[in-house]
Symmetry: C2
Subunit: 418 residues, 2 copies
């Protein structure tokens, strides 16, 4: 730990800041932030809670645990308040679970770039298993079984698998069939699951079926969630975990609460009040979920079409606000421009077009693959007014400020492969 | 980590809640919360920041880092914004430093009960060194040297020492002379220091000299602080660390930022805005510091006098809001009541008088010693109005609601030793 490096993202942000200072216009797609205004009701709730300053209970107060339990229960996961722990973001909860649950970690490849460092911090081996062709956020079930058996044969102890539903970085929602297959492997191989469902309410089409592994394997699945993505509250750091109502679940929850008491105490009380309100899902919050999902879907699909149009393969986005194209079909054309891997593709897009993406290898993907993640949630405008317009529009792609940036991206990718 | 227990404090809180439900009046002195209202200016600041929802920079934004640098600079620690990192409480910062700095840990005995579990979490050996007769928060310098040398001779690697100025649990401020002695040992023995100064602005008498080890050993001392105690914002979770302006300091800071990016991302942005405002120390904040310190001092000294009156020995409180009496002089009397150690003393006070203290062994002290910590900051009243009265009074001991509870404590301790 002594010589940990500053994340490469920070260097990148410095580069971006420098070029912006020189007056360049940069299209920054490398950061998973839902760039939308705070809903006025949430602002009001925070202000109304500004007199609350007591430390409060480590796992969160009664109100927020009860409302979060209701939130989960309305999503086919019957939940008692005692199964819920809130925290300053879902990151600390994910980390605490890794410290508390013994054994090694399995994550999808590619995956959100925090699971692996957390696993290493908790002293775990981290096994990365390829995602299937149809979606991300889950390891291919056949490869999962192979990896676990091979690892055990070699003396390893894989025990905990992280799934991301809907997925960051691929922007896809895993099918219920595939969830069942993974759960079958998990049960057979005595694995436990963390289902990171922070994009749970960013499913573009309400008709898309979403099956949480906690519905299939309730005794073995911990669910994490938060308000950063669905309510655009990344900067408020509100996360939640739901532990199984089982002996194992209670023991992990108690371990997480114990660790929380030593590391972060609790979620700030005014934020707990905001969370209690949001998890109660009054009409204005449900309306906001719906508008956000519509907007995220429309813009993600537009960028998807641009990628396909430029000759990439790409899983169609169905949840979250990302696309994860693969420019392998254009390797020959790109090679002629000196682009031979994820980093040189990223660098070319940045240098030539001022477009910043996250290279696939930063997400655990093969360094040689011509893949990257683009967060399309940063395209809704630079001002609160533009963002609000985008949120309220039934056809956000028709808004000039969104059309303009999509055109710029389209032109850039057309040149890239031209 | 798999079988961590829920902290005994939680069991205690359940007991307290149960007895309160039965209508019993409990005097809870076992929790280090400054029970005072939020200053209206801070409430306004939180409300005014309710539109801020971007993730922001991991170590904190420019404004809060600049203002915190100013805060430290005004306390004889010239500081650049780059030396500052904010976080959701000082706990995560203390933990991150333990993960980033290699080597084992030395803490005072007794000490705040979070340093040791954090050290163990970070895989460290934890050495506990007796505090001197005159104050707490620091190991006795002679014993510190002995412990370090003996540990090294036995193959250990003590490298990091935590000091608490002013101290929790003893409520004392270490003298500048003693700080210099400890710093001399630290330099000689190649030790690094964490100076936990979260009670920095709760020094009862403004004339009391306070010397931070960061003034003596600037290249080797990390300072942590926060708003939980001085501005009674425990439930808002606002902490700050100041890293040395040295190669070592930069490297630890970068490691902490890297770890923060994987574990908690950043301090919630509305809380950063509150912190920027508070650290800028406008007149109303300075006035609040002064009123709080006056109140904390008056009540801590009153409880100290009760302990002395009951025959205990006790270091006179000079900072923070604790007393840490030792009933050794009354051992014979107490033994006749079945009180033979810290736990039985704690239990007797709870069962017989409904007075809850924190037994010394929970703070790393000898289990056989008749010592406990009492947080006197919980005696300012049950309502915001009572608390505000206490804060505004030039003679808080004359207020009926404070006089009453002090009388109850006095009667209890008189019976205890009677």
């Amino acid at each position: 730990m002594a010589n940990r490096k500053v994340s490469p993202n920070l260097d990148l942000n410095n580069d971006v800041a420098e070029r912006r200072t020189r007056g360049e216009s940069i299209v920054h797609l490398a950061f998973g932030e839902a760039r939308l205004p705070v809903h006025p009701a949430l602002k009001g709730q925070l202000a109304a809670s500004s007199g609350e300053n007591a430390y409060g209970a480590v796992p969160g107060g009664r109100a927020v645990r009860r409302e979060a339990a209701g939130y989960f229960s309305r999503r086919n996961l019957p939940t008692e308040p005692e199964q819920v722990v809130v925290a300053p973001g879902s990151k600390p909860l994910l980390m605490a679970v890794q410290f508390v649950v013994p054994g090694d970690l399995v994550i999808p490849k590619p995956a959100w770039n925090t699971y692996k460092p957390q696993g290493l911090l908790a002293g775990k081996q981290v096994y990365e298993v390829d995602i299937p062709a149809e979606c991300g956020g889950v390891p291919d079930p056949v490869k999962l079984r192979e990896t676990v058996r091979a690892a055990r044969a070699a003396g390893g102890n894989p025990r905990l698998v992280v799934l991301t539903l809907p997925d960051n970085p691929t922007g896809t929602v895993v099918s219920p069939e595939l969830v069942r297959e993974i759960c079958a492997v998990a049960e057979e191989e005595d694995l436990y699951l963390i289902s990171d469902e922070i994009y749970r309410d960013v499913v573009h089409d309400p008709a898309t079926p979403v099956l949480s592994p906690a519905e299939v394997l309730p005794e073995r699945t911990i669910v994490t969630n938060g308000l950063s993505k669905t309510l655009a509250l990344g900067g408020w750091r509100i996360g939640v975990a739901r532990f199984p109502d089982s002996t194992w679940g209670n023991s992990v929850r108690d371990g997480v609460i114990s660790l929380a008491s030593e590391v972060w105490s609790t979620l700030a009380i005014p934020m707990q009040e905001v969370a209690a309100y949001a998890f109660s899902e009054p009409p204005e919050v449900r309306d906001r979920f719906a508008r956000s999902a519509r907007l995220h879907g429309a813009v993600a699909r537009a960028v998807y079409r641009i990628m396909i149009g430029a000759g990439a393969t790409c899983r169609p986005p169905t949840g979250g606000f990302y696309v994860y194209p693969d420019f392998e079909p254009k390797r020959a054309v790109l090679e002629a421009k000196g682009i031979t891997d994820a980093q040189s593709l990223f660098r070319y897009l940045f240098d030539e077009f001022g477009i910043v993406v996250l290279a696939g290898d930063n997400l655990g993907d093969d360094a040689g693959a011509l893949r990257f993640k683009a967060a399309t949630s940063l395209l809704y405008g630079h001002t609160r007014e533009e963002q609000q317009l985008a949120l309220d529009s039934e056809d956000p792609l028709s808004l000039p400020h969104i059309r303009d940036v999509l055109t710029r991206i389209e032109e850039a990718f057309s040149k890239l492969v031209g």
